[in-house]
Symmetry: D2
Subunit: 462 residues, 4 copies
Amino acid sequence: MMTMKSHLSLMALAFALGAMPALSQTPAPKLNPPDSQADLKPVVNTGGEVMNFDWPMLKIGMAEYSEGPTGVTVIRFGRKVLGAVDVRGGGPGTVNTEYLDLFYNVPEVDSVVFSGGSWYGLESVTAVNTALKDEGTRSGHWDNIGLAVGSIIYDFGDRRLNEIYPDKKLAQAAFHAAETGVFRNGSAGAGRNTRTGYYFGCNSPSGQGGAFKQVGDIKIAAFTVVNAFGVVADRDGKVQACYGGEGWPKDLMVKDLMQNLPDSQKPGWTVPGGPKRNTTVSLIVVNQKMDPAELKRLAVQVHTSMARGIQPYATMGDGDVMYAISTAEIDAPEGMTNPQLGGIASEVMWDAILNSVPEQPTLPVVTSAPQVTEKAMKTYAGDYRFSNIVSVKVTADGGKLYAQATGERKAYNVPKDAKVELIPYKDGVFMVPGRYPTVLDFTTKGKLVMNPGPWQQTAASK
Amino acid sequence: MMTMKSHLSLMALAFALGAMPALSQTPAPKLNPPDSQADLKPVVNTGGEVMNFDWPMLKIGMAEYSEGPTGVTVIRFGRKVLGAVDVRGGGPGTVNTEYLDLFYNVPEVDSVVFSGGSWYGLESVTAVNTALKDEGTRSGHWDNIGLAVGSIIYDFGDRRLNEIYPDKKLAQAAFHAAETGVFRNGSAGAGRNTRTGYYFGCNSPSGQGGAFKQVGDIKIAAFTVVNAFGVVADRDGKVQACYGGEGWPKDLMVKDLMQNLPDSQKPGWTVPGGPKRNTTVSLIVVNQKMDPAELKRLAVQVHTSMARGIQPYATMGDGDVMYAISTAEIDAPEGMTNPQLGGIASEVMWDAILNSVPEQPTLPVVTSAPQVTEKAMKTYAGDYRFSNIVSVKVTADGGKLYAQATGERKAYNVPKDAKVELIPYKDGVFMVPGRYPTVLDFTTKGKLVMNPGPWQQTAASK
Amino acid sequence: MMTMKSHLSLMALAFALGAMPALSQTPAPKLNPPDSQADLKPVVNTGGEVMNFDWPMLKIGMAEYSEGPTGVTVIRFGRKVLGAVDVRGGGPGTVNTEYLDLFYNVPEVDSVVFSGGSWYGLESVTAVNTALKDEGTRSGHWDNIGLAVGSIIYDFGDRRLNEIYPDKKLAQAAFHAAETGVFRNGSAGAGRNTRTGYYFGCNSPSGQGGAFKQVGDIKIAAFTVVNAFGVVADRDGKVQACYGGEGWPKDLMVKDLMQNLPDSQKPGWTVPGGPKRNTTVSLIVVNQKMDPAELKRLAVQVHTSMARGIQPYATMGDGDVMYAISTAEIDAPEGMTNPQLGGIASEVMWDAILNSVPEQPTLPVVTSAPQVTEKAMKTYAGDYRFSNIVSVKVTADGGKLYAQATGERKAYNVPKDAKVELIPYKDGVFMVPGRYPTVLDFTTKGKLVMNPGPWQQTAASK
Amino acid sequence: MMTMKSHLSLMALAFALGAMPALSQTPAPKLNPPDSQADLKPVVNTGGEVMNFDWPMLKIGMAEYSEGPTGVTVIRFGRKVLGAVDVRGGGPGTVNTEYLDLFYNVPEVDSVVFSGGSWYGLESVTAVNTALKDEGTRSGHWDNIGLAVGSIIYDFGDRRLNEIYPDKKLAQAAFHAAETGVFRNGSAGAGRNTRTGYYFGCNSPSGQGGAFKQVGDIKIAAFTVVNAFGVVADRDGKVQACYGGEGWPKDLMVKDLMQNLPDSQKPGWTVPGGPKRNTTVSLIVVNQKMDPAELKRLAVQVHTSMARGIQPYATMGDGDVMYAISTAEIDAPEGMTNPQLGGIASEVMWDAILNSVPEQPTLPVVTSAPQVTEKAMKTYAGDYRFSNIVSVKVTADGGKLYAQATGERKAYNVPKDAKVELIPYKDGVFMVPGRYPTVLDFTTKGKLVMNPGPWQQTAASK
């Protein structure tokens, strides 16, 4: 029987050996990524860390295509509810938010949907709405039209080697998997493949976060998918996740990053162009009755408050959107003002932001490099296809292993215009150094797994 | 010279001969309407009257589910173009319009999509966007994300006996069927099952309309799906389509309707509730370069001008949305100011509005009722199912034929709470009188066709 | 049958008899226009044609600086009322409208103010608010802060030879002169010096208009200051005021102007630059209770409907703003829907637009020119100063009289870069021909009056 | 030579003696407060602490009515500049901000004006605009219309005993006093009588703050008038100013206040009603060229970032407005992105927030109460009139001195419904204890000065 102590020792050993285990709570993607959306299979309510909370009016479903990975999170309400929206980012993606800004005092919203996939992921939002009709909850009758609203985050680009997006099939799987009292913090749902801190070059895996608080009879829930250009900070100002650059302090304070701008940004760093590569999308839900103008103020106050936990916030490089929902289950308590409710809700949202941060991957460190035989190298050589846009060609030459990306673009630290030497790291595993080292794992025959772990990318040899 | 009397006789004869034909340019729906969206088959580029115009930069595709009928219209551009939006109605349905209002001077829009199906039809808009990616035109790269925007109209309710909506399959069929130089005026595409004039009880079939004008090098195209609460009027103020009530003048002038409010509205008429049952969605396209603020002003001016051709306009019962697109193919001509361009474009849009009006169905008039045998009546009797929400039970009793709606609601003039006598009208065809007479056609064995023609509803005997 | 010649003779006779009178209802400006705002004296509740209506909750005050002329119109309510706003124009001037768009269900508005003077005239709006405090109606207590909102129109430029603007003094005079039941249609208040039709080169004097209707218990009042780029049309499409160009039809139809764009615009006509030279500002008031979202819809519908009575409307060259007020004196009547109320109110607004059109000046036509002695001419010669920006130098030479503008710009048809011959027209009165002939009246010793009548400009000889 | 220790001892002694000196940098108000605005005399460029900075394009003028005290701050630009606005608060006061949201790429703004006086203070904004015309900088010509925009803060209510507001006279005094390179931090200009922390019952004197930074060729200036509902915090989360309640920690951390909501709010504390009693109004200026959409993003990012330095921020109880100005003096530097510029500017704004906090008044502490003779008390007795809304009646009875407010409301801790005993504190000075002790100073014959210091209120005996 293994004791706790021996277990810990094994873990220590694993780290000493440079392990980078897949976090137990998040499934590794399948090994055969298809190129077509049609062949993808939704995986529902998986990943992240389960957070339980008591609010029967809310049902939440999450689904992912692990091959991306990318995902979607659907929040359903037990009845039509009043909604408000506050759009702040420079590159938002929205469905039917114009309607919310008409301030009708009529509960209309059925569901709030968050999705990966950039603007393509808006299909998730409309798919939930048609699912509401298809299942018979809503109809074509003029006073029973379904209303799903929602927003998306950008989870393409350097972070993965394919362009799978959440689609109708995935969103409807999440919709049908919705259940009460469960949310998954971290790399799950729409937060399956998010990043934070690109603003400072941190490029750190992120996720979705939820938090819940009850004050007297008031219930407050906050949900956020943090794919921010900025970094996440706790209430002491400590950055929660960042691959620090060389010479960076171990305990990174956000005030130091912000105050030292522009020097604190990566040398030569710049945002090459468009305003659509980050975004934090959020939802605050309260159970008290509110009128439309009040609910909008709540949305504004809470959304603004997020500039504390995410710095910087609401930049042109983000597409930040906040939804606010009143389920109107209780009357507004005596003496609870809008600013006070907003203050409390802002702290719940900060908790949700903090809960979004997943366990960060351990960076590979080569201590004593293993010997790799030429014969082994030859078995690793091959042409590995990740998707229609990225392949990696591995060649063995003169006792060394090299890799070069083919296709449309590079694969992490494996460049497209030249081959790079792969450094042996442990048996069957190599790396390419850099501020963010890239790991190449050949231990599964005929496969190349890059950056093994929750966000790993897998290719089959052609 | 034909006298008025002889004219009326000819009309009577026409009916005796089986007049009230399906308009030649619009296909009759199939006889077996499925309940499930899954079994529906898109029919592309059909219906209405073809309008040709010369502008290679625009490709337009239309598709319909004839069983609804309902449809979708997709306008694609040959490259990314600058877009603006102006939302005026009380119940709009929109996708990604918040982004357009950020006024970036960057051409981003790929497509503008109009759809039936109320808010469910927004799936058409997102489906076009994913189709852009699936076909490889757009990708996940940050500077090549697809952007389809669009809006919907409400085409459920009393106008039909099912709740089929345009979905991803239909929208992508329209997208792939897009071709240059062709638009279909009338009952086609997103305008397949629209109505106008409910505000005055007119309840008149409507459609989509397009118009094109070239002034020097400037090209201007206008497209509109007219499902307005108000009526359509020409430049002399003549109402273009309305089932007039008893005692209404033959040549109906919109000024008389408007000035006699509230009396000109149907006795007892009221809008029972929600703000989501009408809507006119429109698009104006120009080929000259404009900056975002200018394009927005163009959208505002043209949209506002539509209050002439549609009266009233932009009511709480509408969800009117206008898109404006600059393809930037030519520099802005010297001396053409924004208000001037807007004035010209407003007239093109008025032409489009007028082009939206389809040939109106001729009302059935019983002159000499045919004799119907009891035996024949028995063959007509049966339980006819239109969809999961409406069936009609036809019974023969004492030499008379009766009908009563079963299911959730009435079927035009066939009530739900009592049976109504069917008046023989011609062989195998009966009617229920009223301001809008309802026709029931039993001439196809085992089928009941209500209101035969472009908008007919067909049921099979259970 | 009257020949053209005899027609002209009659006109000549009319002039000989002293025609082109100042309209009786509008006072002629004083003869000594000061340059400083400080010396100006408000004239209250003058000009235009009195319209009486029965609504004690509304008090209206008007004041003008006749030297401009320019003016201000103040509508006060008997208590705080709910307000909404709809901004459509390309160059609006607004005070505190952002607050109205928060949709609070709290009656807050005390007054709506319309003013000439372009953005300088916004001082009129804030002056009314401080007057509310100074008189003790409102205070600094947090639940009793005054709220005046309002907008302005541009009445500088070619239409006058000075740049006097409505200021705090004038606005407060109007405020204190407010009385119930009286509005002045035409050239009064904020509409004292407005123009319409510059879009088509019409350049026609305009004004402010009001209209009132009671339907059952519902009271509806509409007020508008029409300084539109477009022309005013009645319900038959007839243009209400326009100096037609040569060859223009006598009965000008707006559809002909609009459909013949761009040819119907003055040759060489263009809007040189900015978006701030026209504007129609309007107010619709109802006495029924409405919630903020409903009131906004009313504002939108009525504002949009104005595109019928003013064509084109809401151009970049306008700054159109609509306010809507609910005095909440009665509950919303059973069965009156928002679109229906909006339809009725839209017609009241059209009436108000039509009421804004003042009697148009008769154009001078020279038939048999009077003989002017050289001696008389010498008495007319002189250097006449209209304001710090325009003077006119009149010289007699070789039995002819000439004029040339000095200062910053021309004076109507009297150019700045050369002298122009003055054509004798009647005793002591001359003209400069053109599409809009300019009249110069020397009949008051030491003065030059240009375009005598309600909008006349007067200079003293230096 | 005075050692640090002896210095501290002297300070301790001073406090023991009841010192509460008027801060040297801020003038005490005059002793004869008039009730009428007409008699008030502007005092220009006074108060606060001078901050110098190098940017010739900016001229800043400040003026105050010390009797309020209340004031105004005018920022002028050396030419027309591009402006953007971001309104976030629940009770904003704005002039001409609708225009800024049209996104014209035309420099139009002449001046940004901040003012006390709640919505009445908007007169300051329009007065600056008319001053621009009156001085001849701007005119009535269509391409040279002045444009002053601006916003106000609420500085009435409990904080003072009169309702004087900044008016045209005061604003034009500030306008004409504008000079380059000087801003006054603390209790000056529009920040003359601001408070922060009412949200937590802190009720702490506040002010206006400015900061300036140059990065390469980029100049960034931030100005803010902090009258926030929330508290000001530094980058370590330390609250900068708050009268702590009993048992509150000496070093107050904002995270503790926020996380302990609702308990951290004053017992029984609530916001009784309206949304108009706080507000932070701000301006960020950059010298690089930006297009309208970029400038708006800058406004949004910087405004949002203020939620760090002021917590909570953008509540319904605030009327927060941010203006952003680009003077376009230099081209946008290579590689400086909008989010990066926004990050730097956000830190400059945080500095401005911190600079707004004035030296806080020392609370009076009674150590050894002085003996007061009955005779002296009788000389203090009297009826003191602060303004038309507040008087205080002081009576001597049985060797004790009492005070009671007469007029409309209480005077700080002196109640209206009963008399309160005055505690002798030092010679001629008394106090009323409480969380915020009130000081009554009778040392000037025939006067009563309450809370002597920069915000003191003075009454003459009737």
